[in-house]
């Protein structure tokens, strides 16, 4: 992009500046620290100039928005055309309580739904299962059968609003319940739009909500790819997630590398099923974290798009440009929130959200200030939603596409992250691929290492966290916290018992048996799961069939 002669003279000028102006300043005013690190621990230079991006080729590396390699964005007009979807992750207690929260959020301008399920649901247990002791409704809403799903979306126009569901091991079952819920309301499945997270690889790597061993887990994922590509053209059958990898303590580069490696692994499994890449790749979507380091995060999003487009086009030979697009949801970093001085979290969330918007996100969840203490209160979640609306309508950052392109610093960071990603790709390859690397604990060890380094930086005051290791106060917390229905558990269990009593149990038995046969064979399990949920088989019963057929996975324990 730069003239070689000019770069040469710039290099000389730079050396001169270092010897004169800079040296003089450093002599009089030494810098505050010996090295300046990103949140991920990568050193940042004092100054970036064209010399740091000398090899940048505009057309090859950046291009135009909506065109390959999509570094500048997946749409030609980006947020001038359509704002990102404001999608707040929400769920607690019973389906009734969460339904009321969805209506509250929609009333205040939310534009997409996002369901948080409780721990038992995430592990495929019914609320009254002994494994679920003490966990009902704590981290999300309990959905044990179609009856809960019907209440959860009661009065919500599911043919107009898209719904994202954070569910992994039981993703196919919960998706089937959503489809069946809409079907009962007369909405055919091809009209449904939304996302199931369904990213089992990052569960093994970071979030740990796996149930079955890797191979049968991947089979269920590919079953949803295949089913979705045929019957639900508007549905994202996976949200390949870096969010949880980052929350577990990874660096930005690790988040990006591991997530993209997972994505490429899903593509390989889809191809191995005999699907054409352009049949399913356009419905693969992504989910990233937006952490504290403003520019590093923006660079991460830009690098993500470029790498994915290249890999899909060059490595997998995808022909449909929609297969090249890395579309993503972002959530601000939960792990950056502090329990101390929770109001400060509003500010952290604001710049993290800003980074996501400047990075070209398609949808966004902004954390509430109280999330290091509890699930969000109405008061806190409204401020978090308003934060997005303020950025969208008042900050002016949406007025032009990818405004940070061409920044020597941001482009250099984008290139640096891309290099680090390919370094990791080579390491993963050398271990035999993603699943062998999981089984060897490679990702888990890399993440634990980064998490520990970060904690030590805070403990030794190399890294300042306001309110935690500096500017500490002893004030009690004054914000109101969420209170849940104390009768919720009883209500939920009573409903579950009623479902089991009133349904046609013979039909339930038959559909579960048919599912068992399908699971043992090689049929796509989705139609069988749909039959089970239509008959009001519970989540625990359906997942129980899979548990019996597939067995359960135990991970290597790594500190």
């Amino acid at each position: 992009m730069f003239d070689q002669e000019k770069l040469k003279s710039l290099q000389e000028r730079r050396a001169q500046w270092e010897e004169t102006t800079l040296q003089k300043t450093l002599d009089r005013f030494p810098e505050r620290m010996e090295s300046f690190l990103t949140t991920s621990g990568t050193p940042v230079e004092r100054l970036y100039t064209p010399l740091d991006v000398a090899d940048l080729d505009y057309e090859r590396d950046l291009g135009f928005p909506g065109e390959y390699p999509f570094t500048r964005g997946v749409h030609a007009t980006m947020h001038r055309g359509r704002l990102w979807t404001m999608r707040m992750f929400a769920g607690f207690g019973t389906a009734e309580e969460t339904n009321a929260r969805y209506k509250y959020l929609l009333e205040h301008g939310e534009t997409g739904l996002s369901v948080a399920f409780d721990m038992p649901t995430l592990y495929g247990y019914d609320t009254d299962d002994p494994h679920a002791l003490g966990e009902f409704g704590k981290c999300g809403v309990a959905v044990s059968s179609l009856a809960d799903m019907e209440i959860l979306f009661d009065g919500i126009p599911v043919d107009q609003v898209t719904t994202s569901m954070t569910i992994n091991s039981p993703a196919a079952v919960i998706w089937a319940m959503y489809i069946a819920m809409a079907e009962k309301r007369g909405i055919p499945m091809h009209l449904l739009g939304g996302t199931i997270q369904n990213d089992i690889l990052k569960e093994f790597i970071a979030q740990k909500e796996f149930i079955f061993p890797p191979a049968p887990s991947m089979r269920l994922v590919v079953d949803t790819f295949e089913f979705g590509s045929r019957y639900l053209p508007r549905w994202n059958t996976i949200s390949i997630s870096g969010y949880h990898i980052r929350e577990a303590g990874s660096t930005a580069a690790q988040e990006l590398a591991f997530t993209l490696a997972d994505g490429l692994e899903y593509v390989r499994w889809g191809l191995a099923r005999g699907l054409d890449v352009d049949e399913f790749a356009p419905r693969l979507s992504f989910f990233f974290n937006s952490h504290n380091d403003f520019f590093e995060e923006i660079a991460k999003f830009r690098a993500a798009r470029r790498i994915w487009a290249r890999e899909m086009r060059q490595t997998f030979g995808a022909k449909d440009p929609r297969s090249w697009l890395l579309r993503f949801h972002t959530q601000t970093a939960g792990c950056s929130l502090t329990a101390q001085q929770p109001e400060n979290n509003i500010v952290r969330t604001t710049w993290q959200a800003l980074a996501a918007v400047l990075g070209g996100t398609q949808s966004l969840h902004t954390n509430s200030m109280d999330e290091a203490l509890a699930l969000p209160s109405e008061y806190a979640v409204k401020i978090a939603l308003r934060t997005q609306q303020l950025i969208a309508h008042e900050s002016g950052v949406v007025n032009t596409v990818d405004p940070l392109a061409g920044s020597y610093f941001v482009e250099a960071q984008t290139n640096r992250l891309e290099r680090e990603v390919y370094d990791y790709f080579r390491q993963i390859e050398a271990l035999g691929g993603v699943i062998p690397a999981i089984e060897k604990g490679f990702f888990q060890r890399e993440i634990a290492e980064s998490a520990y380094r970060y904690q030590m930086e805070i403990d030794t005051h190399k890294r300042t966290i306001v309110g935690v290791n500096e500017y500490v106060e002893d004030e009690p917390i004054r914000i109101p916290l969420l209170e849940m229905d104390p009768q919720g558990y009883e209500r939920q269990v009573a409903r579950l018992e009623r479902v089991r009593r009133e349904r046609d149990n013979e039909r339930v038995g038959a559909t579960l048996e048919a599912l068992r046969q399908a699971a043992r064979g090689s049929d796509n399990t989705m139609p069988y799961i749909l039959d089970c949920v239509r008959a009001y088989a519970t989540l625990g019963e359906i997942m129980g069939v899979f548990r019996q057929v597939f067995g359960e996975y135990r991970e290597p324990t790594i500190i």
Partner: protein
């Protein structure tokens, strides 16, 4: 305090898979010279009490972020007592609201460490209490 290394069991009760904190603490205690046994995730109260007994530990540290602590911690405490482990120091960390702290102390959990606690504070607490 004797020269014997302090033995600590770090445990993750319940379904919650958020193991970042447990692992960081396990490593910090190890770096501080303690013997650390980490159970891994998804441990039932029975598994934790059994491991504490088998491993003959001085300390049990439990980490939980799902909010199920008020259901699971009392069970662990009962089972430790039944196994004759009354003298084991029990500490806990994770997302534990202030209002639950008195009840947890009452049942014998001596140290409760919330988000943002420096690791050396936990190291020092254990060193002081284990003699």
């Amino acid at each position: 305090m004797s020269d014997k290394k302090i033995r600590v069991l770090i445990a993750k009760p319940g379904l919650d898979g958020h193991d970042r904190g447990a692992k960081v603490i396990a490593r910090a205690l190890r770096d501080a010279g303690m013997e650390v046994i980490y159970t891994g995730i998804r441990q039932t109260p029975e598994m934790i009490a059994e491991a504490a007994l088998q491993e003959d530990v001085d300390v049990v540290g439990m980490s939980i972020l799902s909010g199920a602590h008020m259901a699971l911690f009392p069970k662990v405490m009962d089972l430790l007592r039944q196994n004759g482990l009354d003298d084991v120091l029990v500490v806990a960390g994770g997302i534990i609201p202030d209002e639950d702290v008195p009840a947890l102390r009452q049942m014998g959990i001596q140290g409760i460490f919330g988000p943002g606690t420096p690791t050396d504070q936990i190291v020092n607490f254990i060193r002081e209490k284990v003699r």
